[in-house]
Amino acid sequence: MKNIIEINNLSKYFILHTQGGVNIPVLEAVSLAASGGECVAIVGSSGAGKSTLLKCLYANYRAQAGSVRVRHRDGWVDMARAHPREILDVRRHTMGYVSQFLRAIPRVPAIDIVMAPLLATGTEPDKARVMAQALFERLNIAPRLWHLPPATFSGGEQQRINIARAFAPQPAVLLLDEPTAALDEANRNAVVELVREALRRGALLVGIFHDHAVRSAVATRIFQLRPAGVPL
């Protein structure tokens, strides 16, 4: 399979100007290439930069050095350097991200949150609704919640809305930051099934899975991160 992402010598540090300019190195010359059909599990101790790596991939964080290339519309986009509009286009069409927490928008019902990325890529509203409902059923979201804004939902329910939203448009790349942290066993298994399905259709998944059972059920490769500044 050909590569879908190519991270080359990525470095990321934070300079905290409000804390006297202290420099916190997080990623140092990280390289990773991966192709469709792979599920890469990022492992490493707390603070090793696992979430930071995902955020650099999604261009939520800026890279200080190196490149983060993603295959997009028959070409490559370097997420570390691309124009904001290009980054948004990659997020709309190529890359989904399941964050640890759902950022609830006031007054927007769960079903609209999940339908939004489908509508943004041109899916007919009726079809998008059916797709969203199918995901809700698989993730055991009770129908009485579908038309409510998720602000008052439990952590696990919000997390499943987040998962449904990211998986709905079937992007080529999915970034998962502890997608099952707040879920019970039945729902963990539902997520494992969704991940396997995405792999079968040729998607690339890069994720952080603290749950060993989930990790061994989905990962095709382990990618070890070490804290920056610590010798190999």
Binding site: L16, H17, T18, N60, H83, P84, R85, L88, I105, P106
Partner: protein
């Protein structure tokens, strides 16, 4: 889509109040359907910038280029006063912080919405009233109150009426100055949700000046951070808010309540 031409191009814009520079060498562009937030504290020059780019205040230096419906690029401050006024009534909308600055108190709610339609040539009373009613619905105002004076409306309702009045002529670009400031939190949420929906559905481009980072996060694709008249940081909104680079942006983000 990446080769599209910008709807609005600001080049090296500067404005001074006497000795004090309010805007220094500001350049950016805005593409169709894009929402841009300008954030910064009071006195950072963001409202002056908005007034300069929306045809209200002539900048000392620099250019404001706008692409019209006819795909012509016009230099906003080089065209005649009447051509500029025409632009502000047709292709542009302006939502003031205080709805009273954007509404006419001496005519009804319906007439406030209809006025812009009449300004662009609509004459059929029935059609204008029908359109005004439709817009009251869109901004979630009780259509039974179409003949009431705006002064009988609450602050949040007046703000929604001001938005309807602006959008009725289908502008392609809307300028907003602190559109949610001074509203109760619950009213703010409703207005933000409404703006988010309208911007999506109508493919509106907008420049929103706000001191509220949560407003920027919810509505804007891109964000400019202003400090002492300069743009100190610009980029994707979530990047600017989650990984701020400039000392001032870091201070701004770390001082705000979680957004």
């Amino acid at each position: 889509m990446m080769t599209e031409t910008p709807l609005l191009e600001i080049q090296n814009l500067g404005y001074r109040y006497g000795q004090r520079a309010a805007c220094v060498d500001i350049s950016f562009d805005l593409f169709p359907g894009e929402v841009l937030a300008v954030v910064g504290e009071s006195g950072s020059g963001k409202t002056t910038l908005l007034r300069c780019i929306s045809g209200q205040l002539r900048p000392d230096t620099g250019q404001v280029l706008f692409q019209t419906r006819a795909s012509e690029t016009v230099d906003v401050w080089a065209i005649s006063e009447s051509a500029r006024r025409w632009l502000t009534r047709t292709d542009w909308g302006f939502v003031h912080q205080n709805p009273r600055d954007g509404l006419r108190a001496d005519v009804s709610a319906g007439a406030n919405i209809g006025e812009r339609l009449m300004a662009i040539g609509a004459r059929h009373y029935g059609n204008i009233r029908e359109e005004a009613t439709a817009w009251m619905n869109k901004v979630e105002l009780d259509t039974a109150r179409i003949d009431e004076s705006p002064s009988a409306f609450s602050g949040g309702m007046q703000q929604r009426l001001q938005i309807a009045r602006n959008l009725v002529s289908r502008p392609r670009l809307v300028f907003m100055d602190e559109p949610t400031a001074g509203l109760d939190v619950s009213v703010q949420a409703r207005l933000l949700d409404l703006l988010r929906g309208l911007a999506c559905d109508l493919g509106l481009a907008a420049v929103i000046v706000t001191h509220d980072l949560a407003v920027a996060r919810l509505l804007a694709h891109r964000t400019l951070v202003m400090n002492a008249g300069r743009v100190v940081e610009a980029g994707l909104t979530d990047q600017v808010l989650d990984d701020p680079q400039h000392p001032y942006t870091q201070l701004l983000v770390s001082s705000a309540l979680p957004a």
